[in-house]
């Protein structure tokens, strides 16, 4: 019998639970798993009673037929009800449209609206990375402007119903403007209320310099630190050399140790190119041993980029699969959802676009010019102080996030992975193909690697089932 709770949403004995349209099934060590790309729970292993119920659902049986046909359900109808509810709550099956709507509303309630500001503190850098898309100039943002950016972002966020602003202190290399940023942080934290909108800070650094105050703020939880690391030793150094010459890995490795000694786990950002992709397994090991989250981002070409960096989908896929194979063999206890991110993708977050460009974020350059992405700073859409920051982003005509939905992109609209990749970075696609309405240049690699990633998540669940400790 459906529980009273489910009855309120029209679930009855005659209900025939259905399988979500894009749901994918597979086997890991003989156990069935499901991944629903429209769902919010990632990969789920289906064993025991839930397997019996899933088999019945796949045969199109009604709840009444399940009650009569599944031996344990005859004896314990309440167990059938509990299993159906949990499977529906995990979005593995659908009971009624009314219950599906209820689940979506519950998810929406829990969401905080965040606006992201990329603050380009300087265009200068102490590294000379061949793939960098930031045009190097000797420009530094002045304190007065930086302070105004925070004020204007808070004001605009409050006006547009956002709950918080996350400011990414970036560059160039932000530690080169640390004196200004430290003052900004101290002043902003002292003045905690910004039109009722919370403000949080993240520093995106190359990790070559780690000012003591920055380390202290991170250890106090006042800021988070993301650190660019493209590999271990040689694999990093070949694409992230010091401006003065020589590799930068040794300096960064030492600063990661300083952070860890203070209990600070920086988040590792890796740009994957043809050059460093053979070193990804070693990098994964480095991060997992240190319990550092890491993300693989894929190289975005600019006019000045050297040819040898260009990713070639087949070899890139092979190196990624080798890396995920290594992780599978040395399965960590820490949840993979927390530990690693493949590009902009997250198996628990379905999306119609790759990122929140032109709706949930803005970039402000050293002179206060606003743009929709740090990759597009040459195309400003307004100036801080002259316009409402969020309105400038929403009203610009460079990119239409509604038209750019993955359902509107030919080929993508019929792809089973569309709500996982969201179509990929639209700016990169536009540079490659001259239109946003085209599959990503990385499309083939995504399609090859995503099944491996889903299997990896399933393997971690098997690991938990066998007694591995789930830690978050």
């Amino acid at each position: 019998m459906p529980s009273t709770d489910l009855e309120n949403y029209g679930v009855s004995k005659s209900t025939r639970p259905s399988i979500p349209g894009l749901a994918m099934f597979g086997q890991s060590e003989g156990l069935t798993y499901e991944f629903n790309p429209r769902g919010h729970h990632g990969v789920v292993l289906i064993t025991g009673k839930s397997k019996d119920v899933m088999d019945a659902c796949q045969q199109g049986k009604s709840i009444c037929e399940m009650l009569n046909g599944i031996p344990w359900a005859q004896e314990k109808p309440e167990a059938l009800s509990a299993t159906l509810k949990q499977m529906a709550d995990l979005e593995l099956i659908k009971l009624t449209s009314s219950y599906s709507r209820h689940l979506r509303q519950e998810l929406k309630k829990a969401k905080k609206k965040t606006f992201y500001v990329w603050l380009q503190s300087t265009d200068s850098c102490n590294l000379d990375c061949s793939y960098c898309y930031i045009e190097k100039t000797p420009m530094f943002m002045q304190y007065g402007l930086a302070s105004q950016v925070i004020f204007e972002a808070g004001k605009s966020a409050a006006k547009h119903g956002f709950d918080e602003v996350v400011v990414k202190l970036a560059g160039g290399e932000p530690t080169l403007s640390w004196k200004m940023l430290n003052k900004l942080l101290q002043q902003t934290m002292a003045n905690a209320a910004h039109q009722g909108v919370a403000v949080r800070f993240n520093v995106i650094t190359n990790g070559v310099i780690l000012p003591q105050e920055m380390l202290d703020l991170a250890s106090e939880g006042q800021i988070s630190i993301s650190l660019s690391l493209d590999g271990v030793g040689h694999w990093h150094d070949i694409q992230r050399p010091l401006k003065s010459g020589g590799g930068s890995f040794g300096l960064i490795d030492a600063n990661i140790d300083r952070l860890l000694a203070k209990g600070v786990k920086s988040y590792i950002l890796t740009t994957v190119t043809q050059l460093n992709s053979p070193g990804l397994s070693e990098l994964a090991e480095y991060c997992i041993i240190r319990d550092l989250g890491f993300r693989f981002s894929f190289y975005r070409e600019v006019a000045s980029s050297p040819k040898e960096l260009e990713n070639e989908n087949i070899s890139l896929s092979r190196h990624l699969e080798e890396c995920y194979g290594w992780i599978r063999d040395y399965m960590p206890d820490k949840s993979l959802y927390k530990l690693h991110r493949f590009g902009d993708m997250n198996l628990k977050v379905p999306k119609a676009r790759s990122c929140g460009i032109a709706s949930k974020g803005a970039t402000v350059d050293t002179q206060g010019m606003i743009s929709i992405c740090q990759y597009e700073m040459s195309k400003p859409v307004g100036k801080v102080g002259d316009v409402d920051m969020i309105e400038a982003v929403l009203n610009q005509t460079l990119y239409d996030p509604v038209a750019g939905r993955v359902d509107n992109i030919p080929v993508c609209r019929d792809c089973e992975w569309r709500y996982v990749c969201g179509g990929g970075c639209p700016m990169l696609t536009n540079r490659f193909f001259g239109t946003y309405l085209h599959p990503s240049p990385y499309c083939q690699m995504y399609k090859t690697v995503l099944p491996t990633l889903v299997e990896l998540h399933a393997a971690q669940l098997v690991h938990y089932m066998k007694g591995g400790e789930e830690s978050v």
């Binding site: 989250g293 993300r295 981002s297 991110r341 997250n346 676009r353 969201g422 098997v462 938990y464």
Partner: protein, 45 residues
């Protein structure tokens, strides 16, 4: 978690949309903006 009663095994962590999760700062820490709201995704109701 492994629910012995139903036989379902799933990750119990918060959804990795950082802004609503204290433990994970994934989206905050990436050099992208957070992904779009999932209610943009078509349902197959």
């Amino acid at each position: 978690m492994f629910d012995q009663e139903t036989g379902l095994v799933f990750d119990t962590g918060e959804q990795a949309v950082t802004s609503q999760c204290d433990e994970c700062s994934e989206c905050d820490d990436c050099d992208c903006v957070d992904c779009t709201d999932d209610d943009d995704v078509d349902t197959d109701d």
